[in-house]
């Protein structure tokens, strides 16, 4: 049987004023919280563990297990910090969720806070999404007014405050320890782990950091039960997840499906690759996950299968590129992103991304030098596993996988510009005449 979509988080997004508390409650919102508040916190953690919910922010760590790593209460504060930094190229699920259904996140936060014994929770939202920020601020205000936040929530004696914290433009602040430093008012640079945030997180106190979608999935688990959630997906990658299709696809967008669905199935639902074109390469989980090609159309999009096929499920950010696109151009642009976003703390990433970009740019311009491909491979090897945080590792994914599947395009960069081999106007959604080669298009 082919897989069908399972809208849970997205089920109410088309409702009138879906972001309002009244609309959310009309579609069953806050039933999860009412039930959760009658349960023992330890039972809630056990339930989330049993459901198989894994972090939806990229790494896929089991959420319930993370919560259970918090040390026993010592009377001091414990924190929940929701990661709404969403900046991984291709990833575009959390911000639409916050725009359309911010209350699902708030409800999940109250339940999670109750489960882990937290009385002050934070949402760290990236600074470049004004309207999503407004919706989040409104949602928090409405939840306070209705007694879902504040003192003595729903008469249970449980207190919770939520602070919306707005970032200021830095991809690295999505990395959980950089996020915590940023939330403490510092430059957003990663911390050495261990200690993990569960032990010494915000203000060196026990802290749970979870992704928006992870936390928004919690109310449904409480309502439906662990087995309701686990009935979706595969044996080790359970539940529903938002799959974000973008690029050369007829109907890009958010498709909420059980983990384990394939790109072939999703493309069929989305009207296929751009009319008259064929799939060339794609990312399964954002730009930090090694690219796939048409040979991977039937890889089940679950953590294990994608890993076995040589990539990572990441954030299920499926960026689709057709045969008109130069791999060298795409990889160069991704590396410019990593170079720009490298926090500069460690040498392999700070210097390595600089050199990768330098070499990639001359290959893109058709001015590559003999040995450049080896330099790319060497530099990547010197970053991978040696960088201080996973940003560096992620940066080499496009380079290594690009070389693996499309080496000849990089070789062509020794003599022919990418925009001669792959005229950019063939890839764009509209007709235009390029004014300059892509290489000259701007500053990074």
């Amino acid at each position: 049987m082919t897989t069908t979509l399972t809208p849970v988080l997205s089920a109410s997004w088309d409702a009138d004023h879906s972001w309002s508390l009244s609309s959310y409650e009309a579609t069953g919102g806050y039933r999860g919280l009412r039930k959760a508040l009658t349960m023992e916190p330890a039972d809630l953690i056990a339930m989330v563990k049993e459901s198989g919910l894994r972090g939806r922010g990229g790494a896929g760590f089991p959420a319930g297990m993370k919560w259970s790593f918090l040390p026993a209460p010592d009377g001091g504060p414990r924190y929940l910090v929701v990661n709404a930094d969403e900046s991984e190229p291709g990833t575009c699920k959390d911000i639409p969720l916050i725009m359309a259904s911010p209350q699902s996140l708030i409800e999940g936060m109250v339940i999670t806070s109750f489960a882990i014994g937290c009385h002050h929770a934070f949402v760290y939202i990236r600074g470049e999404v004004l309207h999503a920020t407004r919706r989040l601020q409104l949602a928090v205000a409405q939840a306070y007014e209705a007694g879902f936040l504040g003192k003595n929530i729903l008469g249970t004696g449980f207190d919770l405050e939520i602070t919306v914290h707005v970032g200021a433009g830095a991809y690295i602040c999505g990395e959980e320890t950089a996020l915590l430093d940023s939330l403490e008012g510092l430059r957003g640079q990663p911390r050495l782990k261990p200690p993990f945030p569960a032990v010494a997180g915000l203000y060196a106190r026990p802290t749970v950091v979870n992704n928006v979608e992870t936390i928004a999935s919690v109310p449904g688990i409480v309502r439906g039960g662990a087995s309701w959630f686990a009935a979706m997906g595969t044996e080790r990658s359970q539940g529903h997840g938002l799959f974000s299709l973008s690029g050369h696809v007829e109907r890009p967008g958010q498709y909420e499906a059980p983990l384990g669905i394939t790109l072939r199935e999703l493309l069929e639902m989305a009207g296929g690759v751009r009319k008259g074109h064929q799939l060339k390469f794609w990312t399964p989980g954002g730009s930090s996950t090694p690219i796939f090609t048409a040979e991977h159309l039937d890889v089940p999009l679950d953590y294990e299968s994608v890993g076995k096929a040589g990539s990572m499920l990441g954030t299920r950010a499926l960026q689709i590129f057709d045969e008109t696109v130069s791999v060298v151009r795409a990889v160069t642009r991704w590396l410019e992103f990593y170079k720009h976003e490298s926090c500069g703390k460690c040498t392999p990433c700070r210097e390595g991304t600089y050199w990768l970009v330098a070499v990639l740019k001359r290959l893109e311009a058709g001015e590559g030098q003999p040995g450049d491909l080896e330099v790319l491979a060497d530099t990547s090897d010197n970053i991978l596993g040696r960088a201080f945080c996973p940003l560096g590792d992620g940066a080499v994914s496009p380079v290594q996988s690009g070389l693996k599947y499309f080496r000849e395009e990089f070789e062509a960069g020794l003599h022919t510009p990418a925009d001669v081999l792959f005229p950019p106007e063939k890839s764009s959604l509209f007709d235009y005449t390029p004014r300059s080669s892509a290489q000259l298009a701007g500053v990074h």
């Binding site: 897989t3 979509l5 809208p7 997004w13 088309d14 409702a15 879906s18 579609t27 069953g28 991984e88 190229p89 291709g90 990833t91 959390d94 911000i95 359309a100 990236r126 470049e128 999404v129 004004l130 309207h131 920020t133 407004r134 409104l138 602070t163 970032g167 200021a168 433009g169 403490e184 008012g185 510092l186 430059r187 957003g188 203000y203 309502r223 439906g224 979706m232 974000s244 973008s246 109907r251 890009p252 958010q254 909420e256 499906a257 639902m269 795409a330 642009r333 992103f337 720009h340 976003e341 950019p424 890839s427 764009s428 959604l429 235009y432 300059s436 892509a438 298009a441 701007g442 500053v443």
Partner: protein, 250 residues
């Protein structure tokens, strides 16, 4: 922008302090920000947004104000301010126009939009038009890939742009005509007004605009067409507030 300096003018001077009334207002706002956090240094990022809401950039007097407020040195504040791309070191235009040129948007047309705007406005990255209306920026992935190519104006979404639509948008902004984001408030607010929201002071516009664009709802539409749904939670029967019949996907 009034009499404020607009560009990176040689010999440009920066005001060195706030007048009493402004200062009093900022002190009250700063206190409200600090109250949101268990420790006061956490207030630094929102305080810098607050400074931008007053001065249109992270001004020297704003840095001093933030430092004094939080008991930090100005060097400590500057170190933080320069780490984040949204904190501007020069007076920003009334509108930041950001063209996404990360790989996917670039390929889908973002590069063409960028070239068009550079030529149309006669300025480059992180530069401001002489009238102070627009600061042009290349921006990185803005979590709207399913609407590529994307342009952001003061961090509101302008989805599925073309060179023509982007040039028209720029013209409207420079002419002072109101512009409406694809997914956002009814009109785009100024850089300063936006910064105030980012500092955590809502502007009452959250209810404007729709919940979701077509791409956000693409999967839900397909599910409706086929009658697909997740299994019911099992608690619906209590009051019949909803009926999620449909087949279980597995």
């Amino acid at each position: 922008m009034g009499t404020e300096p607009v560009g990176r003018t040689l010999g440009q001077t920066h005001a060195t302090g706030y007048d009493d009334a402004t200062r009093e207002r900022l002190v009250a706002d700063a206190a409200a920000i600090i109250a949101r956090y268990p420790r006061q240094q956490s207030a630094l990022l929102p305080l810098l947004h607050l400074v931008q809401s007053e001065d249109g950039y992270v001004s020297p007097r704003g840095i001093t104000f933030a430092a004094e407020t939080l008991g930090l040195t100005t060097a400590e504040v500057s170190a933080v301010a320069t780490f984040y791309t949204q904190y501007k070191r020069h007076p920003n235009g009334t509108y930041t126009v950001g063209v996404c040129t990360t790989a996917l948007c670039a390929v889908m047309g973002g590069d063409a939009i960028w070239e068009e705007l550079v030529e149309h406005l006669g300025i480059g990255n992180d530069e401001t038009t002489a009238d102070g209306a627009i600061t042009l920026e290349r921006v990185e992935c803005n979590a709207a890939c399913d609407y590529a190519p994307v342009v952001m104006v003061n961090w509101e979404f302008f989805d599925n742009q073309t060179p023509t639509s982007a040039a028209r948008l720029a013209d409207d902004l420079r002419a002072g005509r109101p512009v409406t984001p694809t997914r956002g408030a009814d009109t785009v607010v100024t850089f300063k007004d936006m910064s105030r929201v980012l500092a955590g002071f809502p502007d009452g516009r959250a209810d404007e605009g729709g919940a979701a664009g077509p791409a956000t709802l693409a999967g839900l539409r397909v599910a409706h067409e086929h009658g697909w749904a997740a299994a019911p939670f099992g608690d619906e029967a209590h009051d019949g507030a909803e009926g999620t019949a449909g087949k279980v996907a597995k």
